[in-house]
């Protein structure tokens, strides 16, 4: 999840009310709408799913879309629409759980090494170098192999690898904040280190972290569904988009609805997060 696209969009915006600009941006609004709807589906799948996602009906396997089953049925006769909807709760959970711990750990470590520097910072530098030396997916797969396949282990694996990126970002941000007046002012006024870090440096340094977090959530869904597809993430019969595509892939020409619908769900959600990310990048861009 080394997304490098953050540094893009360097369009200077000098107009005063950024809030209004962002809200007027159709991209940002579309992203917010998609993620809002996805969140509602994720929280209340039982309200929206027309059928029990796990009910097996082997008299009605691989039925094409109909009024009763708008997305058709899968190879066990389960309702595809209901499975795609129930998968929202897993895939949206993925976006949050695969990133939020990495973010927390990364932000804390990054802030500490950025503030204190010294030996800890040097060791941190080597650890970062070592971890980014592995292709992200290779390391995550290796860790999943150690822990065993499954959702929780996948979260642990992504967190173990992913915190580095947040920490690196945070460290750089804190170092640049340190040169600002208020940090030195804090030191002069005799505030404790923790107060300076958490009350002054951290809030100001969070902007790029939050923007990165949005992109990272989109990537978490992509990564999570890839692992599900490869058989290392969520496990069948659990409904997860990658698993659903893997289940449907044998029938992509004869029962196209099985792999098409979860594919669309992945693309839409990913798009939603990156549009919000882009919008926020504009919205939260620091002064100057």
């Amino acid at each position: 999840m080394t997304d490098l696209s953050l540094s893009s969009e360097i369009k200077p915006s000098r107009r005063p009310s950024r809030m209004q600009i962002a809200l007027r941006k159709p991209g940002f609004m579309a992203g917010a709408a998609i993620i809002g709807a996805s969140t509602v589906l994720a929280l209340f799948p039982n309200v929206f799913a027309p059928h029990d996602p796990n009910f097996i009906d082997y008299l009605a396997v691989r039925q094409p879309p109909s009024w009763q089953h708008p997305f058709g049925t899968d190879l066990l006769g389960r309702d595809s629409l209901s499975r795609v909807i129930w998968a929202y709760s897993i895939n949206m959970q993925m976006a949050v759980l695969a990133t939020v711990f990495a973010l927390t750990i990364g932000v804390i470590i990054g802030a500490l090494v950025g503030y204190y520097r010294g030996i800890a910072d040097m060791i941190f530098g080597r650890v970062v170098d070592a971890i980014i030396t592995f292709p992200f997916l290779v390391l995550v797969i290796a860790v999943v192999a150690v822990l065993g396949p499954g959702l929780i282990n996948m979260y642990i694996a992504i967190t173990l690898v992913g915190w580095v990126y947040y920490a690196r970002l945070m460290r750089a941000e804190v170092i640049s904040q340190m040169t600002n007046d208020y940090a030195s002012a804090g030191i002069v006024m005799g505030y404790s280190d923790l107060r300076i870090i958490f009350r002054h440096l951290l809030p100001n340094a969070l902007t790029p972290i939050i923007v990165y977090w949005m992109t990272d959530m989109a990537l978490a869904i992509l990564l999570g569904s890839s692992l599900g597809y490869l058989g290392l993430g969520a496990q069948p019969p659990q409904a997860e988009w990658g698993v659903l595509i893997a289940e449907g892939r044998n029938f992509i020409t004869t029962a196209w609805w099985l792999s098409l619908m979860p594919g669309i769900a992945i693309v839409l959600t990913g798009l939603g997060f990156s549009l919000i990310g882009d919008g926020l990048a504009d919205l939260l861009r620091p002064r100057g």
């Binding site: 082997y58 066990l76 065993g148 058989g231 290392l232 069948p236 019969p237 044998n250």
Partner: protein, 532 residues
């Protein structure tokens, strides 16, 4: 053709129909068969082959002394033209066929037989030496071979028709570089070329994990329908394509002629394609789930499955036909013998073996006093769609018994370790016979000293004694009776969840004739020809 025993669904009957049409065509010679495999060979050597992709190719490169007859019930000569067993069962005499040659044209001699069987029964080399433990010496005098046994072994003749006793050239081994047998074998395989074996083909190309090529052995002894030596093909080219869907795509796009291990969910669709023959070859493959029968689990808690009645109950509560419909799309049938496939010799047909009966299952759990809500863990293979389906179905089927089925997904190696250590309740498993004799699978599933009865911990003195007696019983009727008794004991004790048998699903382009996969899984190319 055991057609009667295999009348399972429309797909199969049409597949068998197309098989019989094929053989009516006149043979044509030449051409290379392109074959998409699910996994690659690593080392095709009779004694070191231990994975199916290796074992199943041995017969194409190496011939054995005997081979199964066309109907699989008997044994006929191959490199040996005749054989005889002495009255006490302790001596087997064979006579080598005149005109049996290695692929470089040099004759197969008694010396090669002594060398090959010596390798095969050397316990320091391959994993299969135990199958020949009764052999005390092998001698050759000209074309006459004498095998002496320390005790009679009813399975010995079958062993001589099995891949591990295939004949290799001593001359080739002597000339190969390497300090020991393993290194020589690896060097010979890496080099390829004619002269090592006497099968219908020799290895002519190999790229690790990618492809493998066989070329016709011009000196093969068997004759084709046109009176000239087999095989009809010039060669076979294998491509390794582990992904099921891609393998099928390759076949439908016409890039390969044969695709093996077709997912059962696609059998009907390919069967409907006029350009493709969808074959379901009868196999000795059984899918079952060992049940931990020990009194306590490894964590010390009481094991509800230690009670025979609970094991019987879950067997009754499992609707095998429904399971076959879901997992195999109907292309399979419930196990009918508890310890072997119906295609294995001496299998007793006990069908319906625990036919679906929910009332009986409920009565049994009530009698056993099983607490409602009892948690049982099913260990399945991570990433396996079949196992996911099996779990979902069993969870639904066993709920009426008050059993809460929990899934635990692990990879193959972990499942293997759990089977050894007993850290499981029930786990999915599968088996294909390697040997054309029931002793191997029966020993595996039921004889405690082999592997704790497939890890279940089931240790039945009567069963063990019968197994030991049968392994030196030369009277076929008495042996059959012992096997019958073992199957009855095993069925009653139910140390397994008895599930189903599956055929080998192989899709072949319409222009390919004469391809066969035997019940043991061996790929047979010697009579394949391509229509032009």
């Amino acid at each position: 053709m055991k057609a009667a025993a295999l009348a399972v669904g429309f797909a199969l009957s049409t597949a068998l129909g197309s098989l019989t049409i094929q053989t009516a065509d006149a043979v044509e010679r030449g051409g290379t068969l392109n074959f998409a495999r699910y996994d690659g060979s690593k080392l095709v050597d009779p004694i070191y082959a231990d994975r199916n992709p290796d074992i199943w190719m041995v017969g194409s490169l190496f011939s054995t002394l005997l081979e199964p007859s066309a109907d699989g019930k008997d044994l006929v000569g191959s490199l040996a033209e005749s054989y005889e067993v002495s009255a006490d069962g302790k001596t087997v005499s064979l006579k080598l066929r005149n005109g049996a040659n290695f692929s470089d044209g040099s004759p197969v001699t008694g010396e090669d037989v002594v060398f090959s069987l010596g390798r095969a029964r050397n316990p320091d080399l391959g994993p299969w030496a135990g199958l020949l433990s009764a052999v005390s010496s092998v001698d050759a005098s000209g074309a006459d071979i004498t095998i002496s046994l320390s005790s009679p072994d009813p399975a010995l003749l079958s062993m001589l028709a099995t891949f591990n006793t295939a004949i290799v050239s001593k001359k080739a081994f002597d000339a190969a570089p390497g300090a020991n047998d393993q290194e020589k074998s690896a060097a010979l395989f890496a080099k390829g070329g004619p002269g090592l074996g006497s099968g219908p083909f020799y290895l002519s190309g190999f790229e690790q994990g990618t492809s493998m090529t066989f070329s016709a052995n011009p000196h093969y002894w068997k004759e084709g329908e046109d009176g000239k030596p087999l095989p009809y093909l010039e060669g076979v080219h294998f491509q390794i394509i582990p992904d099921d869907a891609t393998r099928v795509l390759k076949l439908t796009a016409g890039e390969v002629d044969v695709a093996e291990f077709i997912p059962f969910s696609r059998v009907a669709e390919l069967d409907a394609d006029p350009a493709i023959d969808m074959n379901l070859y009868p196999s000795t493959r059984i899918i079952y789930s060992p049940i931990n029968t020990r009194d306590t689990r490894t964590d010390g808690s009481a094991n509800p499955l230690a009670d025979k009645r609970v094991r019987q109950a879950i067997n009754y509560a499992t609707n095998k036909e429904a399971l076959i419909g879901l997992v195999l799309q109907g292309a399979g049938k419930p196990m009918s013998s508890p310890v072997m496939s119906s295609a294995t010799r001496l299998a007793t047909d006990m069908s319906p073996l625990y036919g679906y009966n929910l009332d009986k299952a409920k009565a049994l759990v009530a009698e056993a006093g099983l607490k409602p809500g009892t948690e049982i863990t099913l260990t399945t293979l991570a990433g396996s769609a079949d196992d996911g389906t099996i779990f979902a179905a069993l969870q639904q089927m066993w709920a009426p018994l008050g059993i809460t089925l929990v899934a635990e997904q692990v990879d193959g190696a972990t499942r293997g370790s759990k089977n050894r250590s007993g850290e499981f309740d029930i786990h999915t498993y599968g088996w294909v016979d390697d040997v054309n004799d029931p002793s191997q699978v029966t020993g595996w599933l039921g004889y405690y000293p082999t592997r704790k009865a497939v890890g279940t911990g089931w240790n039945n003195a009567e069963f063990n004694a019968l197994y030991e007696a049968s392994s030196s019983e030369m009277d076929p009727e008495k042996r059959a009776d012992q096997y019958h008794q073992m199957q009855e004991i095993y069925a009653e004790a139910a140390p397994l969840l008895f599930m189903y048998e599956t055929p080998f699903a192989v899709a072949v382009s319409g222009k390919v004739d004469g391809y066969l996969q035997t019940p043991l899984g061996n790929n047979v190319f010697e009579r394949v020809f391509l229509e032009r």
